[in-house]
């Protein structure tokens, strides 16, 4: 397990040195949400039901926007070669990447969410289901993003390709997530359970898919 945590530690150190990049994701999230009331007008009856979906769409876009260069720097630096030869292996490496990316992009977003919920006038009793669903949802989006970044690695126009690959896959998350967030039967709703099931599936599959994508990408297009 030590190599695994060493990779997370390394990514967090690098992220801390480039911390201005973290702000970009957060500001992106806030701006998307702020644009909706501006476009629709301060018309409360129309805005009220839009609050939760708007937060979800903003979270989806903001998390995926932070992904374009997840593996690119490590490939360019030659760090991926070192990983492939190390005890860690590409699968655990991809999982470590997902965790450090969630800590630096997903977690700040989640912390910002209550403020956004207040801004959109979402009733207080809806906050717990929203936050729990968004917690699981943001982790799922991160895992999906890792798959997308690994597949698009080395391709020209990687960012656009990644969005095309990942956004359709994110549709079920968006459906379950928004329904679970608006549940009127407490936090543990059937939709949250489905969201959890998708998370379990992604947690098992995403590192494997990302690892083989990185392996193939390297051998087909490498130096």
């Amino acid at each position: 397990m030590k190599p695994f945590f060493a990779q997370i530690e390394r990514d967090l150190l690098i992220a801390w040195q480039n911390r201005q990049d973290l702000g970009v994701v957060l500001v992106f999230f806030v701006i998307i949400i702020a644009l909706f009331p501006l476009a629709i007008g301060a018309n409360a009856p129309v805005l009220d039901p839009l609050g939760v979906p708007v937060i979800w769409i903003a979270a989806l876009l903001a998390i995926l926007a932070g992904f374009d260069r997840l593996f690119a720097q490590d490939v360019r630096d030659g760090w991926l070669d070192q990983i492939a030869l190390s005890q860690l292996g590409l699968g655990w490496y991809a999982l470590a990447k997902a965790i450090s990316h969630w800590i630096t992009a997903g977690l700040p977003l989640l912390i910002m969410t209550p403020l956004m919920a207040m801004m959109l006038n979402i009733p207080l009793q809806q906050w717990p289901p929203l936050l729990v669903a968004l917690l699981i949802g943001s982790m799922e989006l991160t895992l999906l993003g890792v798959i997308g970044a690994a597949l698009a690695e080395g391709a020209r126009r990687g960012t656009a390709l990644m969005a095309l690959l990942i956004l359709p896959l994110a549709v079920p998350l968006l459906i379950f997530g928004t329904l679970a967030s608006q549940s009127d039967r407490g936090i543990i709703s059937p939709h949250l359970m489905l969201l959890g099931a998708v998370f379990a599936l992604l947690l098992a599959l995403a590192p494997l898919v990302a690892a083989s994508a990185l392996e193939i990408g390297e051998t087909e297009t490498g130096l």
Binding site: Q7, L13, D77, G78, D81, L85, S86, T219, G222, L223
Partner: protein
């Protein structure tokens, strides 16, 4: 396929011709649609330093990456009964963090010693201590190279070093250090396979493997 066989049964300290730790048999490697390496065979045993020579594009880097398991072989076999340490064209250093953090992270993901003294010794092996705490992005090409090579000091004694142009960008003093370290490693039972245009480990009796490059 490369067989990262970490068996340590046949460890010997003295060079021996019977005990081949690296076997390459009839290896062929494709890059794109071009056959870069064709029917290459090579043997190396503990204590051997081997220089890999040949013109640009002859497949030196390709061979090293194939041995490291980073490229698939189109045909033939590679087996290596030693841990592999690879220092390629790219240094494997992140520009955002310091050389010391880079080296410690590398040691951790490989499960090597990460004590303060081990890292300090490795850093001083290539005289990098003076700039080891600066972010790597402010360092020169040669300084990065020295930090990348400082890894070698942390590697196990019986490991195979795959070095791709190790002394490109190094000053004379550092090149001599590299020669020195490579010879000590070979004396301790390690192996070195280095692709280089420049003199390397000149004082030793390096074997050499010449890739002629394909005439098509």
């Amino acid at each position: 396929m490369t067989d990262h066989d970490h068996k340590k049964t046949a460890r010997k300290t003295a060079p021996s011709t019977a005990d081949h730790r690296l076997h390459i048999d009839q290896l062929s490697v494709l890059r794109g649609m071009v056959l870069v390496i064709h029917n290459l065979s090579h043997r190396q045993s503990a204590g051997d330093i081997c220089c890999l020579t040949g013109p640009n594009g002859a497949g030196k880097s390709t061979l090293l990456r194939t041995i490291a398991g980073r490229l698939p072989a189109a045909g033939g076999d590679i087996s290596c009964a030693a841990p592999i340490i690879y220092v390629g064209h790219t240094d494997g250093l992140s520009g955002a963090i310091s050389g010391r953090e880079n080296l410690a992270g590398w040691a951790k993901i490989n499960g090597f010693s990460t004590t303060e003294t081990a890292i300090d010794t490795a850093l001083s092996s290539f005289a990098t201590s003076r700039f080891a705490d600066l972010p790597v992005r402010v360092l020169s090409r040669g300084q990065r190279r020295r930090l990348a090579l400082a890894r070698l000091a942390l590697s196990p004694a019986d490991s195979l070093w795959l070095l791709d142009e190790p002394n490109a960008g190094l000053d004379q003093a550092s090149s001599r250090i590299l020669d020195d370290i490579a010879q000590k490693h070979a004396m301790a039972g390690g192996m070195v396979l280095a692709a280089t245009h420049l003199d390397f480990a000149a004082a030793a009796k390096p074997g050499s493997l010449h890739l002629p490059g394909l005439v098509t």
